[in-house]
């Protein structure tokens, strides 16, 4: 059960994270807004509600880098002055996470299907070193098309890497269509179970659901996969749940719409607590 004060704090942090990355995208007229809105609560919860010192986050869906940068800025690991360089010439903060430059980003990602193997290797290393550390890997659902993701899934299950927590940002959309139209993934839970995972399905924008998943995962004897049912472009009501939210930058009017909506979402959720 998520305590009210902790829940409130997570809501505040997520709101701040979203405001920051929306400003980042707007400042440089960049796309991938919907991708970051989709996983904002996942990253916020992992960073502020689940992860401990020495644990690692691998954002396999590197195209949501702004969301990760914003979360790390919220945690004080990236300076706001650095954030203002996002997407500009001479920055470390490219549209996809960089190599060897930012604390909290062990690997450059962006080529899909690498992240789960990276997490598998980090998990194996911690196991060999007998360090009680967790690896959180956030993948998109589209990248589950990649064969390497399934190689990694087999490996994680075979080596019983219970220190790897795989969170799937299940927004049902990929680059050029709906996941079920492009390359059917369902029944995804059954597939992951068959591969040897303990599967938890949650509402991917609800911190109470994440808290429950965290407690369940702690008891799992198999590696955990959390299917986070999310909405691509959550709160960007013009393009919510549409592929367009993956690509389109925000014009002034759209920026006003989405920033208004994330504030409404925050106020509504916060009000429910009191």
């Amino acid at each position: 059960m998520l305590a009210k004060d902790k829940h409130g704090d997570l809501l505040k942090k997520a709101f701040s994270v979203k405001k920051r990355f929306l400003g980042m995208y707007k400042a440089v007229n960049a796309g991938h807004v919907g991708c970051s809105l989709s996983c904002a609560e996942i990253l916020t919860f992992v960073q502020f509600g689940w992860k401990k010192d020495g644990d690692e986050i691998v954002l396999s869906k590197g195209h949501a880098a702004a969301s990760l940068y914003s979360v790390l800025a919220e945690a004080g690991q990236i300076e706001e002055s650095e954030i203002s360089t996002f997407y500009k010439n001479n920055t470390y903060l490219a549209a996809h996470p960089p190599t060897n430059k930012i604390k909290g980003i062990p690997f450059a990602t962006g080529s899909l299907g690498h992240g789960l193997s990276l997490a598998a290797g980090l998990g194996l290393a911690k196991k060999l070193k007998k360090e009680d550390k967790k690896i959180f890997c956030i993948t998109s659902d589209g990248e589950i098309n990649e064969g390497s993701t399934w190689e990694a899934a087999l490996f994680i299950a075979h080596h019983k890497l219970t220190n790897v927590i795989w969170l799937v940002d299940r927004n049902m959309l990929q680059g050029f269509g709906k996941t079920e139209d492009v390359m059917q993934l369902e029944p995804l839970d059954k597939k992951l179970e068959a591969f040897g995972f303990e599967v938890i399905i949650i509402h991917g924008h609800d911190f109470r659901a994440f808290e429950e998943a965290k407690h369940k995962a702690a008891k799992n004897e198999k590696p955990t996969a959390v299917i986070c049912n999310t909405i691509k472009g959550n709160n960007w009501i013009t393009y919510e749940g549409m592929v367009d939210s993956h690509y389109l930058p925000m014009k002034d009017e759209q920026f006003d719409i989405v920033t208004t909506e994330i504030e409404r979402f925050y106020n509504e959720k916060y009000a429910e607590l009191t």
């Binding site: 690997f107 299907g113 690498h114 193997s117 990276l118 598998a120 194996l124 911690k126 060999l128 075979h158």
Partner: protein, 300 residues
Amino acid sequence: MRVEFAQAVISLKDTHPNLVFMTGDLGYMALEKVRDRYGDHFINAGVAEQNMVTVAASLAYEGFIPFAYSISPFVTLRPYEQIRTDVCLHDLPVKIVGNGGGYGYGIMGATHHNIEDIAIMRVLPNMRVYVPLTGSDVGEALDMMVTDPHPNYLRLNMGAKLPYEVQPFAQWRKIKSGDKGVVIGTGPVLENVANLPAEVVDGLEIWALSIFPFTEIPTELIAKINSTKKLLTIEEHQGQCGMHEALASMLLGKLEHVITFKPLYAKGYPSGRYGDQKWHQAENGIGGEGLAKDVAAFVS
């Protein structure tokens, strides 16, 4: 070289406890003792080379020195993007080991050959490619690799048997002296020249190049090329982007005369037929009678 490789990997574990050995489900009758010595640091990653290479990158990030072993094309061409992105861009000390570079797998056929590996690996950022010549080179190359903090690729093959004493493993080695022309080769295929009849070989100066990329050519070697005005190269590798192209570009500006340049390399599968390694070498003019004629003509 597999025997020497396994022995070296086993003995290195004593001095480098952070070594981890990953194999893509290969090693029958070769790696059993490595498995026994490495214990939980030996990981059969299954027939899943993309995952194996990326897992190795993460192990290296965590301070281990991982080997990733398979038949050459399966551990280079198949997971190439993983090598480029996860290993090389992050400059991690992953040691890729490809058995059977060139036509090493002979009658197993084209899927098991790799005549593109030096080209594709040598261009990767931070990567160093090690190409042993003899069986005894393997242990010495591995000594260098485990202390090299960068990504490496080791091309294993059947070790050359040479009628000369060979210096310890190094990027450049002079195998023998001569004044009628220079031969530069990489890998054991160089034995096909070195073992030609004395009347052909006697006048040749033979050098082995064993680490890529290279940024310098020994002064003594450049001087010999300039004085003989003849250079023949041999590699069990396709022509484009292999040794001789790299060498040619390095030699630009260093030559004092127009020289005779005879590059010998693998063309692939000209007849579409298959045979053992020596058969493929002969078909490609890097072994057998064709080579003997070419070298004799080159010397004369």
